[in-house]
Symmetry: C2
Subunit: 298 residues, 2 copies
């Protein structure tokens, strides 16, 4: 395990040079910063599984829509670096926008049909932006393994698909969602919530738990389960539903009859803040509760 | 220099394993097979500059349009392998279509605005297909350097742009066009030409030489130079012009006044066979003749 001082680099050239000096396996955790326990779960898993851990911090403009929160996205580089240093991270790559997208940049990765559902419908171009920046980070850092959170379930599937389709030589590791004590999935965007909204936001994980319960009772009619979830959320005045989905866990195709493993996912606006959450329902978990819903990882 | 027996592999897994066993620098020459002296110039350059040379042979269906010659594209694997073995190639990767595009494949690299000109206009989707397969080959073989012919000038620019924009960690080397004694650029498609067409086909390189001459005389009006080229080609009854272009050598944007370096390029149908050729006009070559037009490399 690396015990040398953490190195922080801003340019692709420095990052490549730092990478070349590393021996053994490298775990990469790509982040947009403003780190929380969810990110640290990724970092700790990467430390357990690799000789060296690299983290990137880059708020990627191309994955934000024109009406989204790119400018307002929370940032705290000093706190982030202190957290990563205390976790034993060896390299942090913190490029500026002009470093990743120099003048004349004009190339994109289109991850295909899997982006035409769920978040991809509401956020056109989002996954193209994600896939393109992640491919660039993979080329710069050349990781053995890359770590993504189950919290962004569709993002994790998009990256897995890109890695398979484009023959990237690395493993994608998806790490369970980390939650607050009341079930709220950790997210950098939770900082936007005022105290009433913070309380209201628990309705996302509650509705997932409800879906889990119904499937465990043997219910398979996806429309009626979605309906019950919507009813629960409707009783929360601060919440507005963007979508509720029960989909095939691999293709993300919407299901009318629940077949396991299924991905239950939703996007809900709490006041002005858009939150997402999800749970994988799998046959082996019947009656045991979902690790994604109840587990407090790390 | 590698003197061991040449290894031929068909699967991504075998190719990756073979790559991991290689020490030192690796030059990759991606081809669609049916090799000629143009390809061998790439292989010889790769041998000079690297410890090990890998060649891929794959007729990539996604870079052919629906009305193009994918099925008819000439193939001769046994002859190709014999040629590569005698050139000291260490590894040949000859995947089948289902190996590169398994069921469910659904991802593409969009190389951007540079594809909206010249060949990209006539062959929509062509460069997306090229960029995607080349990225896959780069991920499987992880070359130090990759070799492309100047003959496919726009393809070389697209790959250079993709490598820069997506931060691939390799050098793209563009090798001058190899020509027959009468000036015809070598191409696997020349095999389609009957004897009369073969003779007519020399009009492409002749028109490039004419453009070079006019620029060397100090002429800068691109429209009138294109007009003279078109006039020369019109006198060849078997030839039909697809396009004639005088463009900025980097952006491929069409020029009205010639500024150097410029790329003069054209696509002409000789009978049913579509041929392309080009020459780079650069300030330093004034009065010396174009290496791309007259040089017989290797």
């Amino acid at each position: 395990m690396n015990t040398a001082a953490m190195r922080v680099v801003q340019t692709v050239t420095e990052a490549r040079d730092a990478r070349r000096a590393i021996r053994g396996s490298v775990g990469l955790v790509p982040t947009m910063g403003y780190l929380h326990e969810g990110h640290l779960a990724l970092v700790r898993r990467a430390r357990r599984e690799n000789d060296f851990v690299a983290v990137s911090i880059f708020v990627n403009p191309t994955q934000f829509g024109p009406n989204e929160d790119f400018a307002a996205y929370p940032r705290d580089m000093q706190r982030d670096l202190a957290m990563l240093e205390s976790e034993g991270v060896g390299l942090v790559f913190t490029p500026g926008v002009e470093q990743m997208y120099p003048k004349g940049f004009d190339c994109a990765i289109e991850p295909g049909g899997i982006t035409e559902r769920l978040e991809g419908v509401v956020r056109p171009g989002h996954f193209r932006g994600v896939a393109t920046i992640v491919a660039k980070l993979f080329h710069v850092i050349a990781p053995t393994r890359a770590y993504f959170g189950q919290k962004d379930a569709q993002q994790a599937r998009v990256i897995q698909k890109m890695v398979a389709d484009l023959d990237f030589d690395l493993d994608v590791v998806v790490v369970p969602t980390v939650r607050e004590a009341d079930g709220l999935a950790m997210s950098s965007r939770n900082v936007y919530l005022n105290p009433e909204e913070r309380q209201a936001a628990v309705v996302l994980s509650k509705s997932l738990r409800l879906a889990e319960q119904r499937v465990n009772e043997g219910r398979r009619d996806a429309a009626s389960i979605r309906g019950e979830m919507a009813g629960l959320i409707a009783r929360e005045p601060l919440a507005r539903i963007d979508y509720i989905s029960i989909a095939d866990a691999a293709s993300l195709a919407e299901l009318s009859e629940v077949r396991l493993p299924a991905l239950v996912s939703l996007a809900v606006r709490i006041g002005k803040t858009r939150l997402i959450d999800n749970a994988v329902l799998s046959a082996s978990q019947n009656g045991e509760g979902l690790p994604q819903v109840d587990q407090h990882d790390e």
